[in-house]
């Protein structure tokens, strides 16, 4: 059984807000759901599957009640920022298996203007909590080791932010629209070595939603057809501390699974949405997914190679989490949204990839240098 070609993304919506002191988190979920339904020309009554993660207030039961949904399939898998890439894969499975026909996936929250719930802990808590792990220093540790083993430089990492900023200048909703240089990144304050402030993503209120459906329903609607042709997911952690290696992520397993199911290779990809919580996140994922060899990510991203129109692999053409939006500190949803825009031909004309018929949306969630998940989705224009 495969999900290849079984599920279509019929509706997308990204909340234009980046700062929402006057809204509730549940309200933002409802607003993005409404936006995605309108984009798909469907109504709430059509939804029979619902997916949400840890950002949904009260969890899936509270959200289904709040939104007034009547569903026969639901999934509240929470793997941090990549939850929505996991949900897209799981929604495709559910649709392929006939468990639902129109699935809604929502993400929303307000880390800028509200209090974020504490990160969930497990059996490791007594052995790790005292050491002050944050996203910044855990990803910093990955970057330190990558530099140590492969000679990756801060200049190379900075090129990832530079490329994102080139794209963000065309996104009217982007939080940071200013084009920056490698020097700007290197001159920004050091947060956690070797990551500077501009190596880090933005913190934004907001959200996004997707409608996933069957081929027959998608074809009855008006939007250009975008379908899932491959999905992979995986997890990685210290696992007892044996053979610790922070230079690769679970993407080394999720990526090949997705490419194999889709029957395509990284060389075929026209556009890549790659989770960019930090610049190092992108560099490691590009290697792990096979866009270049392990250790050669620095060379691959340098000199504008990720800039749409001039580089070989246009990435995050909305400005990504580094410049545009990182709602609820969870970047998986916006990765899917921009990939769909590219495949529909709805990206900004300045960053739209010509004849974009094959795209990847990939992300990790959790803490890359500790325990994390990865999810890879391959999408094509049908």
């Amino acid at each position: 059984m495969t999900i290849k070609g079984k599920a279509y993304i019929a509706g997308i919506y990204e909340h234009p807000t980046r700062h929402a002191p006057d809204k509730s988190t549940a309200q933002l979920h409802a607003e993005v759901a409404k936006g995605a339904l309108e984009d798909a020309s469907l109504t709430k009554a059509d939804i029979d599957g619902y997916f949400c993660a840890g950002d949904a207030p009260g969890g899936v039961m509270a959200m289904v009640d709040y939104l007034g949904l009547k569903v026969r399939h639901f999934d509240s898998t929470d793997t941090g920022g990549c939850s929505y890439l996991v949900h897209l894969g799981h929604a495709a499975e559910a649709i392929a298996a006939g468990k639902c026909s129109i699935a809604l996936i929502t993400l929303a929250g307000k880390p800028r203007t509200g209090v974020m719930p504490p990160r969930a802990t497990g059996a490791e808590v007594d052995f790790e909590a005292a050491y002050g792990a944050t996203t910044h220093n855990i990803y910093g540790m990955c970057a330190m080791r990558h530099m140590h083993e492969f000679g990756t430089t801060s200049e190379q990492l900075a090129w990832i932010k530079v490329a994102a900023s080139h794209h963000a200048q065309y996104n009217p909703h982007a939080m940071l629209k200013e084009v920056v240089t490698v020097e700007d990144v290197l001159n920004s304050p050091m947060i956690s070595d070797p990551l500077h402030r501009m190596d880090c993503c933005v913190v934004t209120d907001g959200g996004g939603a997707l409608i996933v459906t069957t081929e027959a329903i998608a074809k009855s609607l008006k939007k250009p057809l975008v379908r899932m042709i491959g999905h992979g997911e995986a997890m990685k952690g210290p696992r007892g501390g044996k053979d610790l290696n922070l230079t690769y992520s679970a993407g080394v397993w999720s990526g090949p699974r997705a490419f194999e199911e889709a029957g395509v290779t990284p060389k075929d990809i026209k556009y890549a949405s790659i989770y960019d919580s930090f610049t190092i996140t992108v560099l490691m994922q590009l290697e792990d997914l096979g866009f270049c060899k392990k250790g050669e990510g620095g060379k691959f991203v340098a000199d504008g190679n990720l800039i749409s129109g001039t580089g070989k692999l246009p990435f995050n053409t909305d400005g990504g989490g580094l410049c545009s939006n990182h709602p609820v500190n969870r970047g998986g949803m916006t990765k899917i949204l921009e990939a769909v825009r590219q495949l529909r031909g709805e990206a900004h004309p300045k960053v739209q990839v010509k004849n974009c018929d094959l795209a990847i949306a990939h992300g990790t969630g959790g803490l890359l240098g500790v325990r994390h998940a990865a999810s890879t989705c391959i999408l094509e224009r049908a």
Binding site: A123, E124, V125, D126, F127, E128, A129, A130, Y131, G132, A133, T134, H136, N137, I138, G140, M141, C142, A143, M144, R145, H148, P189, M190, I191, S192, D193, P194, L195, P238, R239, G240, G241, K242, L244, L246, G369, V370
Partner: protein, 129 residues
């Protein structure tokens, strides 16, 4: 983190009680599986590699080297250095590097365990040799 930092008190549980009893004695314990021979950290009663329940406590030398680290500069309690140490016995563990010039830390540097007090059992940290 400096000495002014108040570290969280390990809560412990039946599976890890012995570990925390031994940090009071200044000992860092790891677990070893007598079925597959692999050592692991943090301690589990069932081996995470072969799933045997034949795991035994073993005292670590407390010596190892820095696998990686990052100096966190934006912190309300002041800068601190988080990192992984690979113990001589094999397992790597998350820790902080303390009682040292954090600007001089290097990957591969030799370190040894030191214990810091909490309201309960002491917590293991590492410092350059």
């Amino acid at each position: 983190m400096d000495s002014k930092v108040k570290y969280p008190t390990p809560q412990g549980n039946p599976e890890t009680k012995h570990f925390w009893e031994q940090t009071v004695e200044g000992k860092l314990l790891i677990k070893r599986c007598t079925a597959c021979g692999e050592a692991h950290y943090f301690p589990r009663s069932i081996c995470p590699f072969c799933f045997s329940d034949k795991t035994v406590w073993e005292e670590s030398s407390g010596e190892g080297e820095i696998y990686t680290f990052s100096l966190m500069r934006k912190s309300a309690s002041g800068p601190y250095a988080i990192g992984y140490v690979t113990l001589k016995e094999g397992p790597s563990l998350l820790t902080n590097f303390v009682d040292c010039d954090m600007a001089k830390l290097k990957i591969g540097q030799k370190v040894k365990v030191v214990f810091k007090t909490t309201d309960g059992p002491p917590l293991p940290f590492f410092t350059p040799v």
